[in-house]
Symmetry: C2
Subunit: 371 residues, 2 copies
């Protein structure tokens, strides 16, 4: 009784020899091993995951891999951003080495963005790079972090400071896993989904405005549609600029402010999507102030973010601390800060430097919340 | 009184967008900054070096960079292979971060293979990759490790287990630095030079046989010739196979045995080139045993290695330990060991698996030295 493998949708990331498919469907995890077989010739795989995800999906994934003939080892890393570290990477190198993984074997990330980034960094650097597969189980990971090859661990003083551009051989997104996700995590993922509408696709933005009830009810078709559309937009951007020399920077819309907020609150107060949500509104504020954006469009952006119950104001923080923190963002070129600002729905532009006075004015407004 | 920059020879590594020049000349370090200016647009550079090299060449390099307008910071790592570690990388990430290096800035490796591999790994992974420049100051680094983009740190249980393929923007080899090198280090470098003759170039092998006096006297022309020829051969191999999917493996001639010897003697008894020298003769033994190689050619290989005062036998070690250690070599595919064996001077081939009996026989012979 072998079922033939099915995925509802396939998006391809076209990067020449490094091209790879993104399979998207509901409850497709039991078929995972069959898909891996197309990509991994070696006998062994190391599944990197965390206790929560392992508990929920470790067995179905390992069983599927074993049915396809793989020898499976599991590398469990505790939950949380603080474990996206060089120390965790070191632990995984040890496990890979002890299990004799060689360059024909694969590392599989089963989990959210933390697991994907960490496992990807280990895959990129173990034996100078071995095959890597993403199995994202959060909305954030399915629509954003699992696609595009950015992998990294954190430096004590900054997020994603140690990393690489390293493309996976495949992404396998089972939207069924989103049903076990905390509501807050789903909302966080929606911040990145909204981002794609703002930077690239007015029709998709309209859909998000109109279909919010369906999406919040986790309708199967709606979820597959937003994952597929998000991955397609990200794929188009990454195809043009794999290593972030130019256009890829637009994916950082909301992230320059967002990263600063996360850093200044010790990565504890906000989940990533919440910080990005505040960052997207702040960037829209700046765009209005610079007369790049109509204030009615800014309102529309803030309204959609509200619709998905994401924050639009940060707690009170020192404006100067935020400005200084932005100076350490990776997008900084030669000491200057580059901001991704919206011009209309579906269109952003990159602005180098914003005056201290304008930054102070908009940040003072956005950093006064009580949440 | 600005001198116009000169290098005696330039070898280009042709890798499309990742192509880069290797400049080779005597006493060219004072002109270094002028060359860097062609490649690095940012205002800052981090020079990674060790105390010995820093003492000898740190000032001339830093002065040259400052004359070209760069803000220079120095990251000093203690001498020795044991510092090619994740801990040293962590220290350098901290220095890069504290000095606000961004993606437009460069990391410069000033030293031998340890410094080049470590600094390259940090450049490959800091902010997902920033410009990297090699200034090799040992013969081994000038003819081998600085060219081709292999960067790495060691794992407690294996050499170069954590790394990447990351090409430098330029290699700047001043053969003048070889005059301050210990004789043993020069001899070690010659092992890799001899390797190029055996795997690729019979005429070069002849030259090494005939010109050994000139080379051992460190004649300027002879040194530039062997560095240039070695870099050219390595460039041609790397151009065909940047990430070691196929032909690049021939560069590992002598290294499968060599790495095992280094590992089993705690990286203390042999410098790399010495272990490779023993490894090359051992591989030739195996080739004769498998009837791939004429025993007269094997003699010629051993004779050249003797000529440059490199070892051809290892101290007594357990044959089984060596065989087990080779099983952890990165070249292992799906549990099988691949050996690079000579067929004639200028030609090697890759053999998958050698029987336990043959390995035991040849290793028993080679592991009986007293040195």
């Amino acid at each position: 009784m072998t079922r033939s493998p099915v995925s509802e949708k396939t998006v391809t990331v076209d990067l020449g020899e490094k091209s790879y498919p993104i399979y998207i469907g509901k409850n497709i995890l039991p078929e995972f091993g069959v898909y891996v077989k197309r990509k991994v010739t070696g006998p062994k795989v190391l599944v990197v995951t965390n206790p929560t995800v392992n508990n929920l999906y470790g067995k179905v994934v390992a069983d599927s891999l074993q049915r396809s003939g793989y020898e499976v080892s599991i590398g469990e890393v505790p939950d949380g951003e603080s474990y996206k570290s060089l120390d965790s990477a070191r632990l995984l190198y040890d496990i890979a080495f002890e299990n004799n993984l060689d360059r024909s074997c694969a590392i599989i990330a089963l989990g959210g963005g933390v697991i994907g980034d960490l496992a990807g960094f280990v895959a990129a650097t173990y034996m100078r790079g071995i095959p890597f597969i993403q199995v994202p189980t959060t909305l954030l990971a399915q629509v954003d972090s699992s696609v595009g090859g950015k992998v990294a661990v954190n430096h004590p003083k900054g997020k994603n400071i140690i990393g690489a551009f390293y493309q996976p051989k495949m992404v396998f997104a089972d939207t069924g896993t989103l049903s076990t996700l905390a509501q807050r995590e789903v909302r966080g993922g929606m911040a990145e989904v909204i981002k794609y509408g703002i930077i690239w696709d007015p029709a998709f933005f309209n859909y998000l405005e109109e279909s919010h009830t369906l999406i919040k009810e986790m309708d199967t078709g709606a979820l597959i549609h937003i994952v597929e559309t998000s991955c397609s937009i990200k794929a188009r951007v990454v195809e043009q600029d794999e290593t972030e020399q130019g256009i890829r920077a637009i994916l950082n819309y909301g992230h320059t402010f967002g990263h600063a907020l996360e850093a200044l609150t010790g990565y504890k107060r906000y989940i990533h999507g919440e910080a990005v949500a505040i960052g997207m509104v702040t960037a829209a504020d700046a765009a209005v102030k610079l007369e790049m954006l109509d204030s009615a469009v800014r309102e529309r952006i803030e309204k959609v973010i509200n619709l998905y119950e994401l924050p639009v104001k940060s707690k009170k923080l020192s404006v100067d601390d935020v400005i200084e923190s932005m100076g350490h963002d990776k997008k900084v070129k030669a000491g200057r800060v580059r901001y991704v600002l919206p011009e209309e729905i579906g269109q952003v532009n990159i602005v180098t430097d914003i005056s201290y006075d304008i930054l102070t004015e908009i940040l003072t407004e956005r950093l006064t919340g009580n949440d």
